[in-house]
């Protein structure tokens, strides 16, 4: 019962963050868009993946790999994109 509640809370929280960040992509400024994209990748996606770790423990190894890839790669990607955005409009 507690596991199902935890799974549902994490899943819906993660999806809410991803949906809100999707709407945030419609903003005019590039850096605002970048903030929303990074938030979705660093918070929303791990929440959804952790919820699935709770739901199906047998898939934890693969999900942990995805989480680590995302958590390690998203900041580097954000920095590179911010540099490109700065170059576009100094």
């Amino acid at each position: 019962m507690a596991r199902q509640v935890a799974e549902a809370v994490l899943l819906w929280l993660g999806i809410a963050v991803l949906v809100v960040c999707g709407w945030g992509l419609l903003s005019h400024k590039v850096l605002d868009r970048l903030h929303y994209a990074t938030l979705g990748a660093m918070v929303g996606m791990p929440l959804v993946l952790v919820s699935q770790c709770v739901a199906t423990p047998s898939s934890i190894p693969k999900l942990v790999v995805v989480i680590l890839l995302q958590v390690a790669g998203a900041p580097a990607l954000t920095i590179a994109t911010a540099r490109a955005a700065k170059r576009e409009r100094p």
């Binding site: 999806i15 991803l18 693969k62 990607l77």
Partner: protein, 82 residues
């Protein structure tokens, strides 16, 4: 039921990101692509849980890895002086 509702909501969010992907300069589209790839990875994981197929998790892993590499290459390309 919960899984179906969450998948539908995620698809709607991905639709918004796809719309943002079609507008603006190259950097703006790249930013939308980054979020869209994260959403699609989550969609693959939720589909794996819904259908009970662990092979979809391999799709999610590859998508996470390749989207990161591809987006990074694009960002470095757009940030350079050619």
């Amino acid at each position: 039921m919960t899984a179906a509702a969450s998948i539908v909501l995620l698809v709607l969010g991905a639709g918004t990101a796809t719309y943002a992907l079609c507008r603006g300069s190259s950097v703006r589209r790249l930013v939308a692509l980054e979020l869209l790839s994260a959403q699609l990875t989550c969609l693959a994981v939720l589909l794996a849980a819904s259908y009970g197929r662990s092979s979809y998790l391999d799709v999610a892993m590859l998508l996470a890895l390749l989207s990161f590499a591809g987006s990074l290459v694009f960002a470095r390309f757009l940030g350079r002086d050619w």
